[in-house]
């Protein structure tokens, strides 16, 4: 029996069109727009101004508090201006436009392909380097990694879980990274283990990636304390709480931090970024992005500089298909629909999915027939039908007492509803309101 989480979950069609396509380097764009807020927490503060010359890897915006990260230039060239542009949220965000000239990297970055296996850093140095390199959770949550590595007082990490689940349909960036950079990932994991002072790390990979499971299991034998666990394919297994449950059997208490179970979760992409940051002195300024969709001429996995406009990816994938109705940054279950193809790739962009017009359309909303499918698929043990009604009627005290804040917004309820009811839309609204109420009460 393969391990998995116990309650809820769905299995949408996987559509991993690009799992066999090696990672290609995307040609440099003419201009990049690098937002200063690509992470959860305070935006970074720009350090450059119009006309400044920058190199790839150069710090251009500085972390402004503990929960924040540094932003580095992903290209060499001239700062065009510091301005606002809409990111994947649809809201204008501050960022730095850089006109690309050549491709000059900071000298201290080791650009060779040689694997650097050994390291001799203490945990504080590793955490500091991770913080300086601007590393955030690359699975999509973009929580600053250094914050995760320092447990709150009185708590101790026992195990590092590495998320290689990639449960979102279509996306293959983590899968390709595991196949092409296994040693780098494993060294990155060792660095993270050292940073957290834990002896054990487990890589969780869903069973639809047997090649990655096999490769990493074999390679992991050379690295002390690291093992691979194959997981049954079920969405949302890549959710932090679900992954911890699947691998360790422990449940994060409601409102609690994952560390309460002794586990800290990091993505395989993050582990790779940690390797590059520490062993190669390379800050986080590029990442693997899957560009895919049923009508895309050349669905691919690209290594992309942060700040590259989505339009460049589209062009490299054979242009925008005629019938495109929706462009999603991320996967189809939790990704964000983009209003424009000018939106830049950021640290959290794991993929770009193009949907056809007919796929993009939502069906007519019908009456709830109380089939209880939403209840049975909810991985948090909630009652989405009830939360939707309570949110709709604005009965927020009962939203709270029915644990609306536990919702991880995985979308399994809306996905599965036979009456096409927009359950998650209403639950998000209710969550927002209940969050406000809780904050004002705690003041």
């Amino acid at each position: 029996m393969l391990k998995t989480f116990k309650i809820g979950g769905v299995h949408p069609p996987e559509n991993k069109l690009t799992s066999g396509n090696p990672i290609e380097i995307l040609p440099l764009p003419k201009t990049v727009f690098i937002p200063v807020a690509q992470h959860i927490g305070a935006p970074a503060v720009p350090l450059v101004k119009k006309g400044d010359a920058v190199k790839a890897g150069q710090l251009i915006a500085k972390s402004s508090s503990f929960v924040s990260t540094n932003i580095h230039s992903s290209v060499s060239g001239t700062v065009k201006r510091v301005d606002f542009q809409a990111d994947s949220s649809g809201y204008p965000k501050q960022g730095i436009y850089v006109d690309v000239q050549g491709d000059e990297w900071l000298e201290e970055i080791d650009q060779s392909k040689d694997l650097v296996k050994t390291f001799d850093f203490d945990s504080e140095t590793i955490v500091k380097k991770i913080q300086e390199a601007g590393i955030v959770g690359l699975g999509g949550a973009t929580f600053p990694t250094h914050v995760k590595l320092i447990p709150p007082k009185g708590m101790k990490a026992e195990v590092l879980l590495i998320n290689g689940v990639e449960c979102e349909p279509y996306l293959t960036s983590d899968h390709r990274l595991m196949l092409e950079k296994p040693d780098e990932i494993l060294i990155g994991i060792q660095l993270l283990m050292k940073a957290m002072n834990v002896e054990k790390a487990v890589i969780g990979i869903e069973n639809n990636k047997p090649d990655a499971i096999k490769l990493l299991s074999e390679k992991a034998k050379e690295y002390k304390g690291i093992s691979v666990t194959a997981l049954k394919v079920k969405y949302p297994q890549g959710g932090e709480k679900q992954l911890i449950k699947a691998v360790t059997g422990k449940e994060v208490p409601p409102g609690g931090l994952p560390i309460a179970t002794g586990a800290v979760v990091n993505n395989v992409g993050t582990a790779f970024a940690v390797y590059e940051a520490i062993q190669k002195n390379k800050p986080l300024f590029e990442r693997v992005v899957t560009i895919t969709g049923k009508n895309v001429a050349k669905p691919s996995n690209f290594l992309v500089r942060i700040g590259t406009p989505t339009s460049e990816l589209l062009e490299a994938a054979g242009g925008m298909p005629e019938n495109t109705g929706k462009i999603i940054s991320g996967g189809p279950m939790m990704g964000r629909a983009l209003a424009s193809i000018d939106v830049p790739v950021t640290k959290g962009t794991s993929g770009v999915l193009l949907m056809q017009k007919e796929e993009a359309k939502r069906d007519t909303v019908l009456a709830c027939i109380r089939c209880s499918r939403c209840v049975s698929v909810c991985p948090m043990g909630l009652e989405p039908y009830l939360l939707m009604t309570l949110s709709e009627k604005q009965i927020f005290d009962r939203c709270e007492s029915n644990h609306i804040m536990d919702c991880i917004e995985c979308g399994s309820c809306s996905y599965t509803c036979p009456s096409d009811r927009p359950l998650l839309d209403y639950i998000r609204f209710g969550k927002g309101k209940v969050g406000q109420i809780i904050r004002s009460r705690n003041k």
Partner: protein, 326 residues
């Protein structure tokens, strides 16, 4: 920008499941039992079923369009199910005008007066049936005699009716049993009863189909049947001359039809598996109580309707297990 894109919150994909697909699967599940009733009761069974279906669809259309002034939803399959279930719950020789009154009670009172599909508290078909049972007790309890697959105009009692009458008059079970069908006949459906309830085997077959297609879960049917069987067995073991073998309670009357097709109605049953087990057990207790100690020979319709009323209460107290909670 050359193109306008749809911008909506996630999720951006949807399962292929739809409400009407679920409804039509219930319809398919009932077809074997319907065919059997045509075989046993002749074309009368088809006549009753068609009248019930047409009447339910017509009332749904007219009430939605002219009284509620909303877009009629007669193609969603729910009124079709109500029609078939109503027919399944009445004798095959019921006059056409009574069927139409039953359809009006089912769709008009049972369903649309509450706001339509999803808002009704009680199972619409059962509202119709109970309305008819109380209003037309004679016609609703005169079952056609089976004779070589033909209905000859005479009427008879159902096995449960025979048992009830016998026990009330003080006849011992061993004597009553001579008038009852054999176990095989009960399983296959060679006995008298309401149009769609007679063949336990074919009803179970349809139930298995619905289980495989995930229209229903096992919780309600199993808890209803197990509860009825357990209580009936207990009394039978205490005094087999005053209480019949539990096999009669399981295979005759509307137990299979009720447990598999009507108690499982999503709209009127609880949302969690645990709630469904409580709901099913409640139906079982009330059914067997009416059958053994009540005035009516059969009690499943009343039992389901009573437990329907408890469904909101069960939903309020029986919650799914919260992730990370106790």
């Amino acid at each position: 920008m050359s193109n306008l894109f749809t911008v909506s919150p996630s999720p951006h994909v949807h399962s292929a499941e739809t409400t009407s697909k679920i409804m039509y699967r219930v319809v398919y599940a009932m077809i074997p039992a319907l065919l059997w009733s045509v075989f046993v009761f002749g074309l009368d069974a088809l006549r009753v079923t068609l009248i019930a279906i047409v009447a339910c669809l017509a009332f749904e259309y007219v009430i939605q369009k002219y009284l509620m002034k909303i877009k009629p939803m007669i193609t969603d399959g729910s009124a079709l199910i109500t029609g078939i279930l109503l027919a399944f719950n009445v004798p095959a020789n019921l006059p056409w005008w009574i069927i139409i009154i039953g359809a009006l009670a089912a769709v008009g009172i049972g369903k649309l007066s509450f706001g339509g599909l999803g808002s009704n508290i009680f199972n619409p078909a059962l509202v119709g049936r109970v309305f008819l049972l109380i209003s037309f007790p004679v016609q609703m309890t005169s079952w056609p005699v089976l004779s070589e697959g033909e209905v000859d105009g005479l009427t008879t009692a159902t096995p449960l009716g025979i048992i009830k009458e016998g026990l009330t008059s003080g006849t011992p079970v061993s004597q009553i049993a001579q008038d009852l069908p054999s176990s095989t006949d009960m399983l296959l459906g060679q006995m008298s009863g309401s149009l769609g309830e007679i063949s336990a085997l074919l009803l179970i077959l349809g139930g298995v189909y619905m289980l495989i297609k995930k229209v229903i879960t096992w919780h309600i049917p199993v808890s209803v049947i197990v509860t009825v069987a357990a209580i009936a067995a207990l009394f039978w073991l205490i005094d087999p001359e005053r209480y019949v073998n539990p096999i009669y309670h399981i295979l005759t009357g509307g137990l299979m039809l009720g447990a598999i097709y009507m108690a499982t109605d999503m709209v009127t049953s609880p949302m969690t598996p645990k709630g469904q087990l409580i709901f099913g057990a409640g139906i079982g207790i009330i059914t067997i109580s009416i059958r053994m100690f009540g005035a009516y020979p059969e009690g499943i319709s009343f039992a389901i309707l009573i437990m329907n009323a408890f469904t909101p209460l069960i939903n309020n107290y029986v919650k799914p297990k919260r992730f990370g909670g106790n």
